[in-house]
């Protein structure tokens, strides 16, 4: 076990993967100086500027070129800096990368990891704060990861780099400095949720930073004598429907909590899938369909917090309206 931050955990996984496989390389703006969040600090010194490659401010070319390089046998890790900027490369990701293997009848693979830091981060305003994970889950061909802890950012990064499918890898900008223990021996399997807190009264499903808030909420509820089970989905496609069904089978109550806008968020998919399968009292807790503002008090209006999660879960557990 080693103690490290969320950023360091991913950096360690990237470095190990690059040592093990010379075909793995990283490309993105400013990587040679460690990247905008220092997720790449020290890597150019070890691997050199060809494998830790700077890029022009050309998101479309970064994404498109990585795809071309993947088709000829390299394994690129693409850095999009802010997931918001990745919207400049949507055609490349959705029309090209996600579809190539299928359109070409299986002649090609696109083994890419596309890192897109998402989420609210103190006063970054509307163009630097979005959480669009539900978009990518809706696109066949893509795998979607949302690590919430250093352990998962280590193990999931290794799994993403080893995967032959394009993996949209969504780290949360507010977690870079989060510290935790990392067991390098623990492997990650796509589609396996992690039970972050056990309980039989209500099931809370979440991912990314909100999963950490859900654990806080479960601890608050435990103090009140309410047993909340927190399932951190970790990967949204594939996602662990079986684990959620098993838990809801016990609790009969489901709360899905996430930072993204609630309308059309991935919480709708989770809730709908479960409600189609078994009778359940279910609620979602996501952001209003509003835009993220710069002023901290306005930003806070749109946050899903631990107390809000605890209150919503308690209301479900106590059969309050």
């Amino acid at each position: 076990m080693h103690r490290m931050t969320y950023a360091e955990a991913a950096r360690l996984a990237v470095a190990e993967a690059m040592r093990a496989d010379p075909r793995v390389w990283c490309l993105g703006e400013d990587l040679g100086r460690g990247g905008v969040f220092k997720q790449y600090a020290g890597l150019v010194e070890e691997f050199g500027p060809d494998r830790i490659s700077d890029a022009p401010i050309s998101e479309a070319a970064i994404m498109g070129a990585a795809f071309g390089a993947a088709m000829v046998g390299t394994r690129p890790l693409v850095e999009m800096r802010f997931s918001d900027f990745a919207l400049c490369a949507t055609d490349e990701l959705v029309n090209q990368i996600a579809k190539a293997r299928f359109m070409f009848g299986g002649q090609s693979r696109a083994p890419l990891v596309i890192r897109k830091p998402l989420g609210m981060w103190r006063s970054s305003a509307a163009q630097h704060s979005q959480s669009l994970e539900s978009w990518y889950v809706h696109v066949p061909g893509l795998v979607v990861c949302c690590p919430a802890t250093p352990q998962d950012n280590y193990a999931m990064m290794h799994a993403a780099i080893a995967c032959d499918d394009p993996v949209v890898y969504l780290e949360h900008k507010d977690l870079w400095a989060l510290e935790g223990e990392v067991d390098r021996g623990e492997a990650f399997a796509f589609g396996k949720a992690r039970r972050r807190h056990a309980g039989d009264d209500v099931t809370i499903v979440s991912w990314s930073n909100t999963a950490n808030l859900a654990v806080e909420a479960a601890e608050m509820l435990a103090a009140e004598g309410l047993g909340a089970e927190v399932l951190d989905l970790r990967s949204l496609w594939p996602w662990d429907k079986a684990a959620v069904l098993e838990s809801v089978g016990r609790s009969g109550r489901l709360l899905v909590a996430h930072e993204a806008v609630q309308v059309g968020g991935f919480g709708a998919e989770v809730l709908a899938s479960i409600a189609e399968t078994l009778p359940v009292k279910a609620r979602r807790l996501g952001a209003p369909r509003a835009l993220i503002a710069y002023a901290p008090n306005l930003e806070d209006q749109l946050r899903v917090t631990a107390p809000m999660i605890a209150a919503a879960a308690a209301a479900l557990a106590k059969d309050e309206p």
């Binding site: 390389w25 050309s58 046998g73 190539a100 070409f104 299986g106 090609s108 032959d164 496609w237």
Partner: protein, 333 residues
């Protein structure tokens, strides 16, 4: 290239490929318009065969090609088998892409053809990346990327050419200027002198050629390709040609100036021009007829076998989506 030392063997080879491309597309057009066997849109390169033949004659199967929606000629010239191509156009089993892609996504990785593309200009950054991958892997292959005059107005043109220049990559960009962007005169929607001037400003070694003169294309592509093999640096070639047909097989192209197409077909058809030159160089009319007849035979056979081929298995639609979390056959999950 003076008539004096005319390379008859190369000329014959170019003509053979061009006749095969044209015959393939004429059969494809019949399959679409007459037989209603091609359900999607096909974009014919009839009139542009010299560019595909003249460039690709300098490539090996190890080199890579990125093509466009108008890619039948590129694909054939890169060495793909017409039989599996025609099956793909008809959406049949045995097509290059198992009937999943059709004309606009045709690909043959065995001969280095990394795909046509349904999105104009999207192949430019992908091609730059393929060349980037070659460089990282230390390979000695090169990449050729085709696109049209209209693609020079899309952002990826700037981003992809800049990328190739910045990382100094072994790639040849070929812009086939056929004057049209679908129903629009590209010149009316293009500021400045166009694609070649833009490529120069992006620092690429840039040449221009009469794209309806197969020998001229082969000559300049030959020089450029050997320079790229030697220096591993990018280059750009603008080939002026003409789209003799509509934008798609279904487009009557009534928007073209009266007589323009007739004049180009009568006076500047790349196949007719090459045949004349070969006759002048002493090739017998009979041999030219034989080349054309062989091409026609080959391609109508391809259409016959495609026509006879079965549909792909229904369940194959669930294959090759992805390894992780791939759809269960018949279920929403």
């Amino acid at each position: 290239m003076t008539e004096g030392n005319y390379d008859q063997a190369r000329g014959r080879a170019l003509l053979t490929m061009m006749e095969r491309i044209r015959a393939f597309e004429q059969q494809a057009e019949l399959a679409a318009l007459r037989d209603k066997l091609v359900l999607g849109a096909i974009h014919l390169s009839i009139g542009q065969e010299a560019v595909a033949a003249g460039v690709m004659t300098h490539l090996t199967a190890a080199d890579y090609l990125l093509s466009t929606h108008r890619g039948h000629g590129h694909c054939l010239a890169k060495g793909a088998a017409p039989d599996s191509m025609m099956k793909e156009l008809l959406g049949r089993q045995g097509g290059n892409c198992g009937g999943k892609g059709g004309s606009m996504h045709i690909a043959d990785f065995d001969v280095g053809m990394l795909g046509a593309n349904g999105v104009v200009g999207a192949n430019i950054t992908i091609a730059a990346g393929a060349a980037h991958g070659i460089k990282l892997l230390g390979g000695d292959e090169i990449v050729v990327c085709f696109f049209g005059d209209g693609a020079a107005n899309r952002g990826p043109f700037l981003e992809g050419l800049n990328w190739a220049g910045v990382f100094d990559l072994p790639i040849l960009f070929v812009c086939e200027d056929n004057r049209y962007s679908a129903t629009t005169f590209t010149s009316a929607m293009t500021a400045g002198k166009g694609a070649a001037e833009r490529a120069r400003a992006l620092g690429l070694a840039t040449s221009e050629v009469d794209g309806n003169d197969a020998d001229a294309v082969a000559d300049s592509a030959g020089e450029i390709v050997s320079r790229i093999r030697a220096t591993r640096a990018p280059a750009f070639l603008l080939a002026r040609t003409y789209r003799q047909k509509g934008h798609t097989h279904a487009d009557p192209a009534g928007y073209r100036p009266a007589g323009e197409a007739d004049a180009m077909i009568a006076g500047d058809d790349p196949i007719a021009r090459l045949r004349e030159r070969l006759v002048a160089a002493g090739l017998a009319e009979s041999e030219l007829q034989a080349i054309r007849a062989a091409a026609l035979a080959e391609m109508s056979a391809a259409l016959d076998s495609a026509r006879a081929a079965p549909w792909p298995p229904d369940d194959s639609v669930f294959d090759d989506v992805q390894d992780i979390g791939s759809p269960a056959k018949g279920a929403a999950y």
